[in-house]
């Protein structure tokens, strides 16, 4: 079991969350080039080691979090709100 330190709910089992993949992917503007969309939709770094990833606390506070986790050791070193304005407002 991974334990994810949700900023609202505290450390929770990962089974309360839905995994949403690489958090470094930035979706381009709707009218961006095909190439930009191809990269965002299909290409991934897929690192063996440090990984920023999105977890949705679907069975908790329902926030989207960005979790820093190592894909080799599974060690989690941080979790923050994905929505930046809310994260700023809560500081």
């Amino acid at each position: 079991m991974l334990r994810i330190p949700c900023p609202f709910c505290g450390p929770r089992d990962h089974t309360e969350f839905s995994y949403e993949g690489d958090a470094t992917v930035v979706y381009p503007a709707l009218d961006a080039s095909e190439e930009a969309w191809f990269e965002a939709v299909f290409l991934r770094d897929n690192p063996r080691g440090a990984h920023s990833e999105v977890w949705h606390h679907i069975q908790g506070c329902r926030s989207f979090l960005i979790v820093e986790r190592d894909t080799l050791t599974h060690e989690i070193t941080g979790a923050r709100l994905a929505h930046r304005p809310t994260a700023e407002a809560l500081k």
Binding site: M1, L2, H14, G21, V41, N46, R48, T71
Partner: protein, 423 residues
């Protein structure tokens, strides 16, 4: 190569079994090979074998960082089938299945391929109709498939959980030519046959980087038994399953349409024969089970669902798999589990693989096998060898390109879209 036969066993019985010789050695790497295959799993070994056998290219090394077959090739649940419906997959997996049908003879090694049928249970009228479409498409493509109604299913597999209201069994779609094989035997069979054709299998040798000249790859940097080295080659093929992205970055290919995920498998203590097919419980849950020749129940379920390079599975998935098992085969409730393990796989963005030349001269790629690449072993090796030897794809892998993602020609059997954890 010392041929295996009933007579050889008999002779061995009379002479104290002292005549058996090792079937592969510990060759010192040469300075240069025509082709280097990185990854000594099933696909890498098969590729080397077919390079020698079909294309006469014998100056080949298979470079494996651990031990032969210690990756997914030795960790999978050994299900072999070709019940695919989308072009690209249909012809490739059927080609592979046909190679399986003659593999023991081809390799002179009993890979224990057992065409015991693959039985996909259906649990609703809608699932029955959707699966009927798949099996009709298969039949149009010349792939065998049939429907077993509940009465026939009950006659053939009496132990399923028929008398319950939660998941009523509406019947099953069956591929009779599908089945299982012994994974270690497949690896050993290819390794032995490849060695006999002059191929070097170099174990405990990790590829740590690539050597390039004028934009082309001309060799690999290695660490063998802890010592750094260099080996040159005209062509380099990657068949490293879950580690494809790691090496693709080093080779300069950059990002690929892959995420590495792990899948668990389980085996029980041996019991008397109880399940004579591969049984799959899909749709509402995900569970597949067969019985090994030793009697162990071999089964698995879903991915752990997050990127991982750790060959260890988590407990919640373990629990889900056991719950699915109890739902479908409650008679196994008191059977003890012997072992559980996990392997890391290259989950692709459409759930289908790619076997292709790359834009980097000298580099060839074989990846994206998700958790269905064991059945692909002969087909993958056969078509990858062709692609490397001839610099163009075999007809069976012509659609398994990398460009298809850019061109929108996805081969998405499950229709889940670009979400690797769902394929």
């Amino acid at each position: 190569m010392q041929r295996y036969s009933a007579l050889a066993v008999l002779w061995g019985g009379l002479t104290g079994q002292t005549h058996w010789k090792p079937v592969w050695g510990r060759p010192e790497p040469k300075g240069h090979y025509d082709v280097i295959i990185v990854g000594g799993g099933g696909h890498g070994l098969a590729t080397a074998y077919y390079l020698a056998k079909e294309h006469g290219i014998t100056n080949v090394a298979v470079i494996e960082k651990g031990w032969l077959g210690g990756g997914n090739a030795g960790r999978n649940t050994t299900i072999i089938r070709s019940n695919y419906m989308i072009e690209g997959n249909t012809e490739f997996y059927e080609h592979s299945l046909k190679l399986w049908e003659n593999l023991s003879q081809e390799l002179n090694f009993n890979v224990m391929f057992s065409q015991r049928a693959h039985v996909s249970l259906v649990f609703s009228a809608a699932e029955r109709d959707a699966t009927a479409r798949r099996y009709n498409l298969m039949r149009l493509n010349g792939i065998d498939g049939e429907f077993w109604d509940p009465a026939e299913l009950r006659r053939r597999i009496p132990h399923l959980n028929y008398d319950q209201g939660r998941f009523e069994i509406f019947g099953a779609y069956v591929q009779p030519r599908a089945g299982t094989a012994r994974h270690d035997a497949v690896n050993w069979g290819y390794a032995r046959a490849a060695t006999a054709l002059g191929i070097d299998i170099i174990q405990n040798c990790e590829v740590t980087g690539f050597i390039r000249r004028a934009g082309a790859l001309i060799g690999v940097e290695t660490r063998r038994d802890g010592v750094a080295g260099e080996i040159y080659a005209d062509k380099i093929g990657l068949a490293v399953a879950g580690h494809t992205s790691v090496l693709a970055h080093k080779a300069g290919l950059g990002k690929l349409p892959l995420e590495t995920h792990k899948l668990q498998a389980y085996v029980s203590e041996p019991i008397k024969p109880i399940v004579d097919q591969v049984i799959v419980f899909g749709g509402v849950g995900h569970f597949y089970i067969s019985q090994s020749d030793k009697g162990g129940m071999v089964f698995g379920g879903d991915l752990d669902s997050y990127n991982s390079y750790a060959q260890k599975g988590n407990l919640p998935v373990y629990q889900n798999v056991m719950a699915a098992c109890m739902q479908i085969l409650p008679c196994l409730g008191r059977v003890k589990l012997l072992r559980q393990w996990a392997g890391v796989m290259d989950m692709s963005m459409d759930g289908s693989p790619f076997i292709t030349k790359t834009d980097i001269p000298g580099l060839y790629l074989n990846a994206g096998w998700c958790y269905g690449g064991f059945k692909a072993t002969p087909g993958s090796g056969h078509t990858f060898a062709h692609t490397i030897a001839r610099d163009e794809p075999h007809w069976a892998n012509a659609r398994l390109t990398l460009e298809r993602y850019r061109e929108g020609r996805l081969i998405d059997e499950s229709g889940h879209g670009p979400v690797p954890k769902l394929h």
